[in-house]
Symmetry: C2
Subunit: 323 residues, 2 copies
């Protein structure tokens, strides 16, 4: 039997599909990418996913009989068991979409859906920075903060498939408002958007930084670069961000005592200043004898989500989950 699986990553900007050889170190046999064009609405995007899967198979020179299953990572809450997408906060018009069923009919492949952050975390776990441990947390830093939790070698999705929402751990009760409606979530302090917002707040309070002239079109990347170059305001922001992430990670350590925390997303470009602040806060907070947790950057870059989606399809197929 073949060990080929299809992995799909549905992003707000791009849709990516790959045929992956699970027997050959999660190697990408083919890779197809196209703009998601989310503004065209749900039906158009769903059709595009099916077409993308078929295109990836064609590029790999295989058909539905050669591929065992497809896994699709979706940016939003889903019902894994039924393959239904509840909604996608950043794409209009998605509401209780039976995505697995539709794609299965379109492609001829048994199809599973999973949350995109869970796919990326699972990808790092099986093929990247999480290899060799049994308990892992992954935190994905971007416009928002996502994550995944691996317990005893299994992706933990919880009762309703809604586990792993690391971005909405509360670090300051009553603190800054978060996009989720609550206050004080770590996402409101340490996402790329929040980093820029906090930096501008410092500027507006009269702190001096060479970045002042870029005030209205700053990115988190500008801030990380300035911190590396020695800008004390930028460095302070990076260290505070690491601290906030460290508070959240220390909460996960208190609750779950994982061996490793893998950090992914564009913000890991902030480098050791960010990581060391995060490690320092974790070490200071978690004084339990014997408790240790490595905090390291992700290893797979942009392929974690594809690899994880394909491998989750393999795991679910083996477990006999119905879609």
């Amino acid at each position: 039997m073949s060990n080929l699986f299809v992995g799909v990553e549905l992003g707000g900007t791009n849709l990516r599909c790959a045929v992956i050889d699970e027997a050959d170190g999660h190697k990408l046999v083919s890779r197809y990418e196209t703009p998601t064009a989310a503004h065209e609405g749900c039906n158009a995007v769903v059709k595009r996913i099916g077409d993308g899967i078929i295109a990836a198979m064609k590029e790999a020179g295989v058909g539905p009989d050669d591929v065992r299953a497809a896994g699709v990572g979706v940016p939003g809450p889903i019902d894994q068991l039924r393959g239904i997408v509840h909604s996608t906060p950043n794409m209009p018009g998605w509401n209780m979409v039976p995505l697995a069923d539709i794609l299965q009919k379109a492609t001829g492949l048994k199809t599973y859906v999973e949350n995109d952050a869970n796919c990326a975390g699972w990808g790092e776990y099986v093929a990247g920075a999480g290899r060799g441990v049994r308990h892992m947390m992954m935190v994905t830093l971007g416009t928002g903060i996502g994550g995944a939790i691996i317990i005893d070698g299994k992706l933990h999705i919880g009762r309703d498939g809604a586990a792993g929402e690391l971005g909405h751990v509360c670090i300051i009760d009553g603190g800054l408002p978060c996009g989720c409606g609550a206050r004080g979530c770590v996402e409101a302090y340490a996402s790329a958007t929040a980093v820029v917002r906090r930096f501008i707040h410092y500027l507006d309070d009269g702190w001096h930084s060479p970045l002042h002239e870029k005030r209205d079109f700053l990115t988190s990347y500008d801030i990380f670069t300035a911190a590396e170059a020695g800008d004390p305001v930028a460095l302070r922001i990076v260290e505070e961000t690491g601290h906030f992430l460290g508070v959240m990670a220390s909460d996960v350590a208190e609750l779950l005592n994982p061996e490793r925390c893998v950090v992914s997303g564009g913000m890991i470009q902030a480098g050791e200043n960010l990581f060391n602040a995060m490690r320092n806060t974790c070490m200071t907070r978690n004084q339990h004898p014997g408790r240790t947790m490595e905090i390291i950057p992700a290893a797979l870059g942009g392929n974690a989500g594809l690899i994880g989606a394909a491998d989750q399809a393999k795991v679910k197929l083996a477990a006999g989950d119905v879609i």
Copy 2:
């Protein structure tokens, strides 16, 4: 083969041992209790545990050949696999004690050790308020705040056996100092001790309450009783306490998405005022579609720890863990 197990609960004040029939609904066949007398030091207490196990077996009319194993719940961090107690914060002189080995020699029973809060949580899971679910959190409210996490029907202890420390989840970064050395832990706001401290703080700020005359010897129970009787300051403290616990519980819900949160310990006497405030904060914070978590009081009272310790011994014996 018999289905008798011994459960032991080692408390700072009392030591309790029971022979429990796992085949008969976790029934306590015998129950032996004696003061721990922790001030006499580690060796005396360890000997007392062995004597207590033997006394419980004698009272049940059985011997080491009739009992399959013993489980001991210990108030402190332990190495479950080796049966070693790292330390016990509230009992002097315990430091890397090979408790399982010593007790096994003293009693003739295969012996397992586990954290006491984990035992209580497991007891509620198998025989109390946690029955019928797969993912559960238990929070134990007392002088400190402890807890346990059950994932997919298994007690989750983590890499170093240190998981389930719900009391040290940070709810306010940089907030009140906690006994653990960190700041802002939920224990610093919502333990019985913290409740009294916060109430006195209100009194000293000039709030009026009939409890003022008891200022120097208040207990959390006084405050809960006053809240029931309509004292607005006491009621405010109870509702704030429920809110703080709700923030912590909502963090666990974001991370793990359990079906049920079981709350145990003397403080559940605070009743529906406490529970409703906790539920309200959880509902407000956790807006993820499909995510739900019941928050209910524990059902077993003082026997949860004994039943959980005995049942964990059964689970570990079946899994073939070495001590």
